[in-house]
Symmetry: C2
Subunit: 143 residues, 2 copies
């Protein structure tokens, strides 16, 4: 039973790169390590894999950019993150825990289940979600 992901950890890395991109000029390996609390080598190895899989490009400065493929996965994962976090908060979960749990849940949902959860979320917000809009609006600046 093949899962719905590239690899759970890849989704996580790509999502982090997108999040960092959204409020920093550039993204380096070390930034990801700091954000995720992983060691430099762990991130280095992961970036190598993502590079080989065509999910990111890394320039001579070590600045990391999502490719189109990588961006697709990153946006998808981040969207799940936003929706799940908000649904949990609506259910009364603390913001911190909601974010933590969303990080794990986002990687194990089938497309069908996520679609229904998103429906539920949008229904209870009259279809309005600035956070989701921010994702679709985001376009990575080209180097």
């Amino acid at each position: 039973m093949k899962a719905y992901e590239t690899h759970e950890s890849s989704e996580n890395y790509l999502e982090s790169i997108l999040m960092l991109s959204m409020d920093h000029q550039v993204v380096r390996s070390i930034d990801i390590a700091n954000m995720l609390g992983f060691s430099k080598p762990s991130v280095s190895v992961a970036m190598k894999r993502l590079r080989e899989e065509g999910m990111i490009t890394v320039d001579s400065n070590g600045y990391i950019t999502l490719t189109e493929d990588g961006m697709k996965i990153a946006k998808g994962t981040y969207e799940k993150h936003i929706v799940i976090t908000n649904v949990l908060i609506d259910l009364g979960v603390s913001a911190y825990t909601a974010g933590q749990d969303a990080c794990r849940i986002e990687h194990v949902l089938s497309p069908e289940t996520f679609a229904r959860i998103k429906d539920f979320y949008l229904r209870s917000h009259d279809g309005v979600s600035p956070e989701l809009d921010a994702i679709s609006a985001y376009e990575q600046r080209k180097p």
Copy 2:
């Protein structure tokens, strides 16, 4: 960041043992392998670990029984399974997918988040849940 579980796979095995116990006289390694779609050796090794951790006992016939500790984890996990599955079904997810996804989600929820989801579930069912009642009612026959 220590997770909330013994080990994700242990939770799964213990839950399966409980489910099998609830509608079979006895539970053997092979039954678990068939239910989970794992190989016999995988289950054998896992049972050895659970035995060493005091989660189960295995008699001379190879019949597996949950200890008090094992039962606690099994019931907790199974309860999550039931609640999540039903919530997803209520959201419009097909029964099959709901069960599949519940299997994964149940292992990554913080106690806080599960508590809120359970509240939500009970609220939308007027506090009535035959399935949850069945779990608390269940007492494993002593050998």
